[in-house]
């Protein structure tokens, strides 16, 4: 082999090997790119919001800072909260938690930044706040469903707003509670509510329900049973199962509060009749009474 040709082959070999090495190094240093391009999971799409940078050391805000944050209650509108629309495609979890301290900071997309709200130890009833995780313990953080709105439909620009919000919390701020083994499946078009064993998908009971009218439709997506109470001024004193969801198309479809979606008995409990709530008959009301707070409610079209 002529010397010039031998050197040409050697140079080509070096170029190829170098190129492969650079390519391998680039891939190895961007693991998210690999996992994202090969097998994008629904979970990764939820966690795709900016996270805390590697090496970031979390520091809990002091009491004064926490006290200044908006309270993420059922009647608040907090823009920093996240839209939980994508959470409906995730496998339903069964864990529930309560909170460890008086005020727990909630974080939006930027977990390394400042908290956007706080979640109180006790809810509006004076009962312990029940926390429902969507993504559990991602690098010390857990994504949870939250009771507040993030925007009003009228202010969204499209007339449609997120019905359910979520936020990140530090996992070590949560205390394990009793897991829930069943969830509620509401089919809006079929106007039905089913109780489902989450582990195996077995439907244990189904009831007819009334759902939202065309202009105050019951919002679809994942929500949860936030609390239950009786109010003589509402629904003839029957138990109201408050969900974390809000009307996605009307600011205040009924009453002064933030378009709260409840599940409750009503004398008119079939058809598209409500202002977003899910209306039960007596049998459905009885079935709902056996489900714990923290039970997931999945509303589908």
């Amino acid at each position: 082999m002529p010397e010039s040709r031998r050197w040409f082959l050697i140079a080509g070999f070096v170029i190829v090997v170098t190129g492969l090495g650079i390519g391998f190094t680039a891939v190895a240093s961007t693991p998210h790119a690999v996992s994202g391009s090969v097998k994008p999971s629904s979970r990764s799409s939820i966690a795709a919001t900016p996270s805390a940078p590697a090496g970031h050391v979390y520091t809990r805000p002091d009491a004064a800072t926490l006290a200044k944050l908006p309270d993420a209650n059922y009647n608040a509108v907090i823009s920093g909260l996240l839209d939980a629309a994508g959470s409906a495609s995730l496998p339903l979890r069964s864990e529930t938690f309560t909170l460890k301290t008086e005020l727990t900071p909630l974080y939006g997309a930027d977990r390394s930044g400042v908290p956007v709200a706080s979640l109180p130890f006790l809810n509006f009833l004076g009962s312990r706040t029940v926390v429902v995780p969507v993504v559990l313990n991602d690098g010390g953080w857990t994504q949870i469903l939250t009771p507040s709105r993030r925007e009003l439909p009228s202010g969204s620009g499209t007339g449609v707003a997120a019905s359910q919000t979520m936020a990140w919390v530090r996992t070590d701020q949560l205390v394990a509670g009793a897991p829930v083994q069943q969830h509620v499946l509401v089919n809006v078009s079929k106007q039905s509510l089913s109780i489902v064993n989450t582990a195996d998908g077995v439907v244990t009971a189904t009831y007819s329900v009334g759902v939202g009218k065309a202009d105050t439709a019951t919002p679809v997506g994942l929500t949860y049973l936030e609390a239950r109470y009786r109010d003589p001024k509402q629904e003839a004193g029957h138990q109201i199962y408050l969900t974390g969801a809000h009307s996605s198309v009307a600011d205040h479809p009924f009453g002064p509060d933030q378009g709260l979606v409840g599940i409750h008995w009503n004398a008119v409990n079939t058809g598209a009749v409500s202002h977003a709530c899910i209306r039960l008959n007596a049998a459905g009301d009885n079935a709902m009474s056996k489900l714990a707070d923290g039970t997931r409610v999945l509303v589908v079209k």
């Binding site: 069964s94 509670g177 109470y229 509060d257 709260l260 056996k290």
Partner: protein, 253 residues
């Protein structure tokens, strides 16, 4: 129904089987810890002078089991008239250990013409290997009249988390907390037997106590004492001025 609940309050037959197998180990260990540390001993089995709720004591001690129990007590007291009442909700859940444990529950809510001033649960339980003990107590005292509330005293996580495992084995708040005759006594002599980090996670959330309506909580003592067990227990006690009814949300209907 009321008879069933009354029986559960003072003597739960389910507890008997577990106690036969575990009394010497659980109470002996905890008493020994108490003698050594000055902690007041386990009081769950003592007959209380006032109504008490007892559940999930001496249960799920075979191994690989979970006991998940909670008690919610709402007391109503009118200091001027002496009118009293209480509502008690209990969840009594058992099943296999797991994360989370797949348990089945019995829930019960009942009202009483008395105050309910003591909650005892999850003591001497979860003593087989690889078990989970997850228990909580929430007490809300609605008081009509003038009263003074101070921070609840706590005795918890004393003599717990030993037997090996990567530190920290304790995740307790507040800690240390070893007040004698405390309002809350929990997680003492528990999680002893090796296992994971933070295997004893016990917290007392923002809690107050008042002499107008003293209450006590004893839970998760002498529990979870085998390898690979976890003990997670929480307490909240609030004393609030009655008549300040919360604003109830108006749903969309």
């Amino acid at each position: 129904m009321k008879l069933k609940y009354a029986a559960m309050r003072f003597w739960n037959p389910r507890d008997a089987q577990g106690l036969k197998r575990t009394t010497v180990l659980a109470l002996g260990l905890f008493l020994a810890v108490g003698v050594l540390t000055g902690v007041h001993p386990l009081t769950a089995s003592a007959a209380p002078a006032s109504p008490a709720v007892n559940q999930c004591n001496g249960t799920d001690n075979v191994g690989g089991q979970a006991v998940v129990c909670d008690i919610t007590i709402t007391n109503n007291l009118n200091l001027a008239t002496g009118a009293i009442s209480s509502t008690v909700t209990t969840n009594d859940c058992h099943g296999a250990a797991g994360a989370p444990p797949p348990v089945t529950c019995i829930s019960l809510t009942q009202s009483f013409p008395t105050l309910t001033t003591s909650a005892d649960q999850c003591n001497g339980s979860g003593l087989g290997g690889g078990s989970n003990v997850i228990c909580s107590v929430t007490i809300l005292n609605n008081i009509t009249g003038t009263f003074t509330a101070t921070a609840a005293t706590v005795n918890q996580c004393v003599g717990s988390g030993g037997g090996g495992g990567t530190q920290p084995t304790l995740n307790c708040d507040p800690y240390p907390a070893n007040t004698t005759n405390a309002t809350v006594t929990q997680c003492n002599g528990s999680g002893v037997g090796g296992g994971g980090t933070d295997r004893v996670t016990c917290t007392v959330g923002p809690s107050t106590i008042t002499s107008a309506l003293p209450v006590t909580v004893n839970q998760c003592n002498g529990s979870g004492n085998e390898g690979g067990n976890t003990v997670t227990c929480t307490v909240s006690i609030r004393n609030v001025l009655a008549g300040l009814a919360p604003k109830l949300p108006t749903v969309s209907g």
